[in-house]
Amino acid sequence: MNVQFRPAAERGAPAGAVTAIADCDIHPARRSMRDLYPYLSKRWQEHLETYGGHAYQGMMEGPPYPKAQPNASRRDAYPPEGGVQGSSLSFMQKQHLDPNNVVLGVLNPLNTGQGLRNQDLSAALATAVNDWQVAEWTSKEPRLKASIVVANEDGSAAAAEIRKRAGDPNFIQVLLLSRNVEPLGQRRYWPIYEAAQEVGLPIGVHAFGFGGNPITASGWPSYYIEEMVGHSQCQQTALASLVLEGVFARFPKLKMIMVEAGFGWAPSLSWRLDRVWQRLRSEVPHVSRPPSEYIKDHIWWTTQPMEDPERRDHLFQTIDWIGWDKLLFATDYPHWDFDEPMRVLPAGVSDADRAAFYLGNAKKLYGLT
């Protein structure tokens, strides 16, 4: 959606009247890369000014598929004091956290240097973004929690960043993206999983990223909508890789959250994996249980963009397979495809499931009371 229908604050409803929710996918934005300079050495500031980010895609600035909205964000989310949508804490509080009664907001900074081609730059930016999240957001707003951004293509640098933040209550998860140089189950990423398991943090795998691979197995499509829909196929393949490489067998305490990639495909992917595994398990002896069991044990799902079939029973059938205890509500604020909290779930859900969906599951997963 481009603008929110009659925000609760305008309707005059006090915040207490709206169900308290967790929003497990909020995107804090920088007005520009220079917002990070206080947390970057002079060397890397000059490097960025001279050479730019040098990502696994060709554009110096902006995305290769133009978004449907400026910054892929709601047109009503520009802060009054200026800057891009999502760059003002006070306006995020006023427009989103207060009226929607968000009691837990998980920050997932994007375009922050994950997966750049220069690994040293990527690591420096990840550290800077993490410092920035604490200084500018979580230390000022206790409802917000940060994600540990890492230089994901450099497993040892990423693991070091995770261990450095261990025990810091500002951080409640590690953030990865779905599209990387290789599928996420590959061994180059294992140090990240080892460190996350060791420090006891779940890993959020957010859709998007650029790893240099076309977003289809037949090369590059033409349109933004194909990229957007395609993120769910990327996520499916990334999850299949995690299961089939034996990541969950090797790191049995690891918890992962599939963020902003949908969840409707979870059953059909699991069924396909189970069926093919019956035939081909001799190739992957390290996968000792049916793949669907790893998925059910280790995976949580954020809801936005929520699938909305014409008939609500179709949605409920899907959720019944996944489990009402595995869904984490998310809005994707301030992005244009924001799911409005109180309109997203059709009628016919029990009070217990609603409470788990909106808040309980997130508190439990993140170990918050």
């Binding site: 449907a68 691979n213 197995a217 037949s218 499509p221 349109y223 393949t237 299949a240 089939l244 396909r272």
Partner: protein
């Protein structure tokens, strides 16, 4: 189990070319010489390693040679047991992997001639798909025109993973030719490996590649709908072969949601995605990616909101089911008839002509 009914149409059979040298009689002097002088190896694709469990059902595996290479085996193992009236042959030989446009063209012509001579001429139940050198659209169109004169060719065959997404305008002359001749485009699982076999790169295992076929079909369906192929060619049918179909409902929910959000980007997509799927896209039955639970499958068909989308297939000789359990448990008789007879005949226009001709003879 659900019993098949006689008179069905098996939409996905895989006769195997024994070896590249089997094409020599169908090649001209130049290409015969190229194959022998350069010592070219067999062009078997790693999509289906001949000894992989999925490439052949254990009891369909021949003592020697490639699974699916024997006409006798194919007819007695895939057609006779199910009372199949018509079987559509989709050769999966690795010609799409060839980089030279000229070589691909010569080999495709030879393969299509081989299919006629060694298979279609020998059993009147068999029909064929035209394998095309998609490496060069002009040559691909010429091969469709050449083969379409033989009414036993009922479809054009392409792969789920190629050089460019299937909706791309560069490929449209292929669709124009197919629509002109009443030939559906069959898109079969497989890759030419010119791109990584998944949208997140190269995995480690054969099993990953096979699982990823379903995601490749999903992106192809997005591409075909979004680029406007069915707006331009409203009578064109696309048949997804060995694609699985249980992913379809949730895929369409997502595509529909984004189409509502950003349809201004592609204004020619003037019908809802599911409506387009219902009018133009079909899926072969096997593999049935669902647990062996009639209630689950019933829900999936309900979510698809149509009984016209699925076409009977054995996927012979690939190992998708055991014994005679080609139909999943719990399919009601009406749906069995739709899947085995009505839907294939509604999809493959050229089967009607063949029937009439046989009746007249």
């Amino acid at each position: 189990m659900t019993s098949p009914i006689a008179g069905g149409v098996d939409c996905d059979l895989h006769p195997a070319l024994p070896h590249l040298t089997s094409l020599l009689p169908y090649l001209n002097d130049y290409w015969r010489d190229q194959v022998t002088t350069r010592g070219m190896t067999d062009l078997e694709s790693q999509s289906y390693p001949p000894h992989s469990p999925i490439s052949a059902r254990p009891d369909w595996r021949p003592v020697e040679g490639k699974p699916g290479a024997s006409l006798h085996d194919l007819t007695t193992q895939a057609l006779d047991p199910f009372g199949t009236a018509i079987g559509i042959c989709n050769p999966l030989y690795g010609l799409q992997m060839v980089f030279s446009e000229d070589m691909a063209d010569a080999f495709c012509r030879a393969l299509n001639d081989w299919l006629v001579k060694e298979w279609l001429d020998k059993d009147t139940r068999l029909r064929g798909s035209i394998v095309i050198p998609a490496q060069n659209v002009e040559k691909a169109v010429a091969e469709i025109e050449r083969c379409a004169r033989d009414r036993r060719f009922v479809q054009v065959l392409m792969l789920a993973m190629g050089d460019i997404p299937l909706g791309k305008r560069a490929l449209w002359p292929i669709y124009a030719a197919a629509e002109r001749h009443g030939l559906p485009i069959g898109v079969h699982a497989g890759s030419n490996y010119h791109n990584p076999p998944s949208s997140v790169g190269w995995g480690s295992y054969h099993i990953e590649d096979y699982v990823a076929q379903a995601q490749a079909f999903q992106t192809q369906l997005t591409s075909l709908i979004i680029e406007g192929v069915f707006a331009k060619f409203p009578n064109l049918k696309v048949v997804m072969l060995e694609s699985g179909f249980t992913w379809l409902p949730s895929f369409v929910w997502r595509l529909h949601k984004f189409w509502r959000g950003v349809r201004m980007e592609t204004p020619w997509v003037d019908r809802a995605p599911m409506e387009i799927v219902r009018s133009n896209v079909r899926f072969s039955l096997q593999p049935v990616d669902a647990p062996p639970d009639a209630a689950v499958l019933d829900r999936i068909f309900d979510q698809m909101q149509s009984d016209e989308l699925v076409l009977f297939s054995t996927d012979y000789p690939h190992w998708q089911f055991d014994g005679n359990d080609v139909l999943p448990d719990g399919l009601p008789p009406d749906l069995v008839r739709k899947i085995m007879i009505d839907n294939p005949h509604a999809t493959y226009g050229r089967l009607k002509g063949a029937e009439a001709k046989e009746a007249a003879a």
